[in-house]
Structure formats: structure tokens, C-alpha cells
Symmetry: C3
Subunit: 337 residues, 3 copies
């Protein structure tokens, strides 16, 4: 059970090639392919004839042709050719999901009934076209439910323990940082400031800080993705309340989409600011970002494996859970609706 009538991330535009892309989203196997000029089609990944995955077939003139007996489907899911047969039965079609590409992200609409159309635009990801930043992307498969990834991203106190070699820094400083949590019925915002703190390894590699820094973490959770803005300026150099502040910026996009009830896709981009005097160091930021997300995957999959081992064991809340718990309540309300 997942919240419906909303957009989910299905992948990145650059994943679409001359081959079909097979992926399971919200428990439904789909095939994703370019259809039309800038369009993208997302169909149920099943030929209506003998159930072979359409993703085993080939792209053909904006549609997709089954690799077993050649049935051809257009982007709406209708079968438009059965080789060797004149009449095409009306029921020869598969489900199609509304989909668009915006800011390099493939968004797919999952409604609560067949044929439901989107009632809103998918979110913009402005960092992807902000000339101040370069960005790179990654796709990580998780053998864990997607809300465990939300929990992780909404609670950046773990970075001192899990990511000590990269973006972490002193664990105690993280755990004791003043944190504010705010929310409405669709989103949660968590802001943490670590003033006059020692910059972590990734920051000092990327940016020539003079010494201590004023560091921030601004986490914005939405039902279908998170945007996390982190960074630092030399201590006292600028107000952390200034939205136009300079310094080293890392703007993360985190598309967390259920694959099944027990597995997930994690589509991420990292948009970071290169310092003009050391532009090559930005590669290190991406490498360490990828390493960081791999560290998260390992511990979250271990966590989920253990949750099944200890099914029903109680959990004790601590101070860092406020943001994650609000996000869970929002999803619970939306799923029940």
C-alpha cells in the first residue's frame, strides 16, 4: 500500500536509450521508453498475447514490438499491429501510466484507478539547471522499504557515525546540533545549524576554508522526493539566514520510489559548487557522495534484514526521530485516504 494519485520518480532521462528500460514501480513491472519528440511512455511490461515482458522486445517507430510474436504497441498501450492477422481485438492493449520528463527526471503518475489523469505538474528541480552548479546522478537499488530511506535522509545526525570518512565530521557535534522541525500535511522541513564547527573531509577537499565553518543542513521532505541543501561558509563570514549566501553548496535531489513493499529505488543527483581556484576537486565530491549513499545502503539493508529477524520488536524513539516520524504520519494519512 502506497499513497496514490501522485507523481513518483521512475528514472532519469539519460537512462532512455534505443533499448526499452524495464523497472518495477509500486509493485508494478513497467517498461519505459521514448515516445514522440520529447515524450516518454510507461506501459505495463506484459504483452497481452502470451505475457512475455515487452521490455524483451524492440523499440519501433515510437512504439514497442514484442520479441516473441511481433505485436506492436503505441505509447498509449494500444496494440496497433498483430503480424499475420488483420483484425486487432479491442482488448488487445495494456495499461499505460501518464509520464513526463521535467528537469531530467522521469515522473510517473500512479492513480487510484485505471486511466486516472494527473491533476498537477510534477515538481521542478531547479538545481539541475542552475549555472552555479554541476551535477551528477546515481541509481541505487535497495532491498529495504522506501520509508527506511526517508528516515535516513530526514535524520542527518547519523552522518557522524555512518559517514565519518567523508561528509560526517564529529559525531557528537551532529547529535547535539540545534534542530528545528516544521511540517504541513504534505511536507516536512528540518533545519540544523552547526556553527563554528570543524568542516568534514569532503568539504575541505572541495573548498579552501580558512578554519572553522558555519555549517547548515536544510532538509525538505515531499511525498515523492526530498531536496537537501547542505553546505558551509567560513565561520562568521555570512548569515545562515541569507538564502543567497555563498560558500560551498551541495544540493541533493533524492527520488525515493517503492519498487515493492520490501524494496526500493533511490534516484539521486548531487549539484555542487566548484571553487574557481580548484575546479577539479568537484569530482571528489561526487565520488564521496556515491560512497556515502553506498554506506547508507549497507546499514539500511542490514537494518531491514534485522527488522524481519526481530519482527514485532518494539522500537525506542530518541530526539533525532522528530522529522522522520512526521513524514511517516503524512504517508500513513495519505495511504489510508
Amino acid at each position: 500500500m502506497f499513497p496514490l494519485n501522485q507523481w513518483y520518480v521512475g528514472g532519469f532521462a539519460h537512462e532512455l536509450t534505443d533499448k526499452p528500460l524495464a523497472r518495477t514501480l509500486l509493485g508494478r513491472p513497467v517498461v519505459i521508453f521514448r515516445s514522440g519528440d520529447d515524450g516518454v511512455a510507461v506501459l505495463e511490461d506484459r504483452c497481452c498475447h502470451r505475457s512475455v515482458p515487452l521490455s524483451c522486445g524492440i523499440l519501433d517507430g515510437g512504439g514497442i514490438r514484442c520479441g516473441y510474436h511481433g505485436l506492436l504497441y503505441d505509447g498509449s498501450g494500444a496494440c496497433i499491429e498483430i503480424p499475420g492477422q488483420v483484425k486487432i481485438p479491442g482488448k488487445a492493449r495494456v495499461a499505460a501510466y501518464p509520464a513526463v520528463i521535467r528537469d531530467e527526471v522521469i515522473w510517473v503518475w500512479f492513480g487510484d484507478a485505471s486511466g486516472t489523469q494527473p491533476h498537477c505538474e510534477p515538481p521542478a528541480i531547479p538545481a539541475h539547471s542552475n549555472p552555479r552548479y554541476q551535477h551528477k546522478t546515481g541509481v541505487v537499488h535497495y532491498r529495504a522499504p522506501y520509508q527506511l530511506i526517508h528516515d535516513n535522509l530526514l535524520d542527518l545526525s547519523h552522518v557522524g557515525y555512518v559517514h565519518g570518512k567523508t561528509i560526517g565530521g564529529n559525531a557528537k557535534v551532529h547529535m547535539e546540533a540545534p534542530t528545528t522541525v516544521s511540517s504541513d500535511e504534505n511536507s516536512v522541513r528540518v533545519v540544523r545549524w552547526m556553527k563554528a564547527s570543524t568542516p568534514p573531509a569532503t568539504y575541505t577537499a572541495a573548498w579552501p576554508f580558512k578554519g572553522l565553518v558555519d555549517r547548515w543542513q536544510e532538509i525538505d521532505f515531499h511525498l515523492n522526493h526530498l531536496q537537501i541543501f547542505t553546505g558551509a561558509v567560513d565561520v562568521g563570514a555570512e548569515s545562515l539566514e541569507n538564502p543567497e549566501r555563498g560558500g560551498f553548496h551541495m544540493r541533493g535531489f533524492h527520488g525515493v520510489t517503492p519498487e515493492t513493499e520490501t524494496s526500493s529505488h533511490y534516484f539521486w543527483t548531487m549539484s555542487a559548487s566548484a571553487h574557481p581556484e580548484q575546479p577539479d576537486n568537484i569530482d571528489l565530491v561526487y565520488q564521496q557522495t556515491a560512497q556515502t549513499f553506498e554506506e547508507d545502503r549497507v546499514i539500511i539493508e542490514e537494518q531491514y534484514r534485522n527488522m524481519r529477524q526481530f519482527a514485532g520488536a518494539p522500537q525506542v524513539d530518541i530526539h533525532v526521530d522528530a522529522g522522520a516520524n512526521r513524514a511517516r504520519r503524512i504517508i500513513a494519512v495519505r495511504t489510508a485516504a
Copy 2:
């Protein structure tokens, strides 16, 4: 549930060595070994003492000896020696299945009750001893129910899509070829002619055709195997109605045996005619035959994986399904009996 009181293919004679052969047939693990001069024994693969597979033991004087405590069984399944013990309890025995070797094929009888004896001979495979042909064999394991393999073999319209590089040829010609289907209560025959068609790659490699060919596919489905006769002559050179016609011949034997409800054994031989001027090219025919069956395995296993993903999804019949659907009805009637 499978049709009982019939022979199934358990393997090939050349698979029997000085080691026991373990195989699961119709959901029953069995051990197969030579017993007596030309005989073959097929026993339940379980020592009656502590359930160790007999196939972990050794062959000993026409019987099989358990590798744990040395109990010796003869080809009828009776325990005939318990080392260190004089008396052999009457219940010290395991089930035995009637089995014979004919034309290099091991046939095993599965009755509807213990001890049921065969009421007919197993089928002959005359191509195996026809001096006109050479033949080679293969054993393929399928993670798919056996009737999906029947479907595939009874519908050779798929060869244009799945086997384009070898025996396929033009997909549209295949899909539009005139096809006749006939059947009785135990068999189905599908005949397709593709006159004046372009020979596929395997054919031109094996035989010096002058140009276009008259090509045929004759599929004979039986409850425990299929025999498929395909080939071609130079266009107009001979009547396709002449059973003694020349040209390039490929005679396939296809023993399709359930391993379990969800997996299968596919025992095949290909008997082909080498052209006297280019006898070495026959090796290519076998290589491409093996490649073809591997291509089928990939798509059928994907099909079955997807059928489980979309359990209960309806399927739309098309024109090529006539033969396969009759075979399914025959098996359904026999299974219910």
C-alpha cells in the same frame, strides 16, 4: 498434476556412466543407472534408512549402494544387503519406475498407482538410426512449466522474431504462412509451407541452394514428445507433398518432461542431412540449433517469470495459437482423467 499412465523422457542413454544420474521427473526425485545388460533402472532417490539420496552412493554389481551406511538396492528397488545385519526388513525398499532405452532415449513410465506396469511400447525415433542423417543431442533445464515449451514448439511463427540470426528468416513471411492444423485425442499436427521464400542463414550455410526455396515445417505433437520435420528444396524442384523429397532436412526430437510444476527438462536431438559437397557445414547446423534453443529458453523463462508477476492477467489469443491450444486441451483432458 500431469497426465499419468504414459512414458516420459528421462534422458539419453549416453548420460548413463559409472556414476548414478540424479534427476527429478514429474516432481519425483529419481536416480537412474544401468542395470543388467541393456537395462536401465529408475528408483526413488532416497535410501529407506535415513533418507540420503541414493545418487550420492555408488553403482555396485547392477545395483546401487548408499554412500552413508552401505545399504545395497537392486534394480527393482529392493534392499538386498544391510552391512552388519543379517535380517533385511520387508519394508526396506524404495519405489521403482519401469524404464527402457529405445533409439537412445531413456523412457520412464509413470503410472497412477505404485506398481502400475506399462500397457504400450515407448515411441520410436527413427531419425536416430536413419543413415541419411547425423544427429547430436542436448539437455536444457527450464525454469518454466513444460507446456510453455509445447506452446513454443507448436507455433513456429515466432522463429522470425526470436531466431532472426539462424533459422528465422523474414518475420512477416512466417506470420503470414498458410498453416493447417489437425488433431486427434492424443496428438496435434501443424503444417506450414513457405513457398518461394528466402532461405534463412542456417539453411544457406548448410546447403548450396540456388536462390529462393520451398520451405516446410511439419510439427507432430504427442503427449510425451514432439517430432518436428523442417527443411527446404530449391524453389519448384520437388513437391512438398512427396514424403521422399530431397533437399536439406532437419528432423528434431523434442522430449519435454516436467521436472516440477514450475520447471522442466528439454531433451533434444537434431538429425540433419549433410550435403555431400560440404559435409563439414553440418557442425554449424548443430551449433545454431543449440543457440536457437538457448534463445527459446531465455524468452520462455522471462515469459514465465512475468506470468507470475502478473498472476491472473488475461491473455488474448491470436491466429498462431491454434496448434498450441489444441495440445493444451488434450493434456487437460488427460490430466483430469
Copy 3:
């Protein structure tokens, strides 16, 4: 279901390093680590906060710190620090199991209720400190229930069939050896003598026997381990009734602990006597011991795999089963209690 209120082997002291040791015992995932001077702690392997395995964390001052958010636990299972939070809730704790190290073996107490304390000492393994012997250890994981390993160790008639190349020797001699079986409510003793028999390969490699030997096997089964004393003297040289007899000795310790209902840990040591004239040959004894236990693992896992294939199939008892059947009855009575 396993007998409770008793010690089980959890591992060997030398397995404890500066990293936590994760292991599942009796279906319960635990983390094992040194705590205090000679102490060992065994805790439920689950942080009470978000269920991450504590074994993914680090050892810290005699306790263990979770690798996700830094919660610190002492050896009693109490959480004694939550970074960034002053108050520690009373329920912030995990289960702890009483554990001691004796004669290099880690013993863990599993009671029938939380907090149950041991009412006896764990067993001594005197061979581990007997200057007459050297010993080596091994840990083998079994995909089979632990009582199948008991069956194997209590019935050394199988060594002729399974271990023909090492400790086996003539299979018929083993199967026909006079055997006495005695038992009480907690233990079984099986003694077998093979007088004037040919020594097996391992024995002749380790010890300069003159020819035939008087060979013995003394198996002592206890609820949580077995000790098996085997060896040989030159034929007629000494009475096998003399507990101080010389010759070649192999004293095996066999800690068999359920991992789950269907898998097991097998912790073994072999204490053997090196002959003064050929002390280097003792290495061969250990190599062949390890090979022997690997041969057992293969056949027992095949046995269990087959028992599931043939679920419910009857088993026929033979003469060698007397000891194993008594051990099974003892465990059945204790499990029911």
C-alpha cells in the same frame, strides 16, 4: 523448539577480536564480544532504537556502540549513552544472555524466561589443556538441523563409507564391530572395539604401528556437546580397558548448536597425540580431520535436502541407530519439559 535451561556452545575464545561477532543461536541473532577482563558478553543483536544490528557497530570501553546513531550498551544489555540526549528511557535495553569462557569454549545459557540465570557450570573440556595433546579447531556451518549431526557422530559405522580415504578403513569391519550402548537421562555412551583390525590411512600416517591394531571408539553424547575418544594400539600391546593406555589418541570435542530449526553450527576441536619420532605428522591429522568433517557436511546436507523433498516418508531403522535414537529420545523429553 530446543531444550532450554542449559549451556550451548556459542563459539571459541579465539574468535573474539576487536570487532563484534554476529551469530544466530537457537534462532536468536546475538552479538558476542569481550567485556571486562576475561569476560564475554552475549546480547540480542538489535539496537533498541531503530533495530540496526549492534554487530554493525564498534566495541567501545567494554560495551558496544551502534553504528547508526551511536547508542552505547554495556555488557548487561543496558543502553548507557544516547548521544545528544540527556535522559535515557528505562526501556532502552536489549536482552543479554549469561555467558562464560571455559577451556577456550564460549558457553551461552539459554533459559526458558528472560533473565533466567545458570544453575550449573558449563562442562570442562580437559583435552584442551592436557600436555599430552596438541589441538586445533574448526567452525562449520550446516544447512541441516542439529540432530542430524548428533546422529552422524553417535554412529561411527558410517566412517567406512563416507571417510574411506582418511579415518575410515574397511567398511565391513566397522559395520560388524561389537558395540555397546548405555545411557541415562542426560547422556549416551557408545563404545566400539575393532580388535586386530587394519589401521586406517590417518592412523598409519600419524603413528608407526607395526601392523594390525586394536582400535577403539568411545562416544559420549551430552545435551550440548559430544566428546569422542578414538585411537589404537599395536595389536595385543595393551588392554583397551585401561583408561591410561598409550598408542595413538584422537580426542574430539564436538559442540553442536542449533542456528535455527533448519541450520546448525558445528564447533569442533581435535586433540591428538603426536608420536615423538614423527611429530610433524600431526598436521596431517588435523588436515584429514577437517576433510572428514567436510565429507560429513556434504552428506548430511544432502540428507536434509532429501528429507524435505520426501517429507513424511517413513524411515527404516537398522542396527547402527541405537545410540542416535536414545539421544533423540533424551532431547524429545527435555524439549517437551
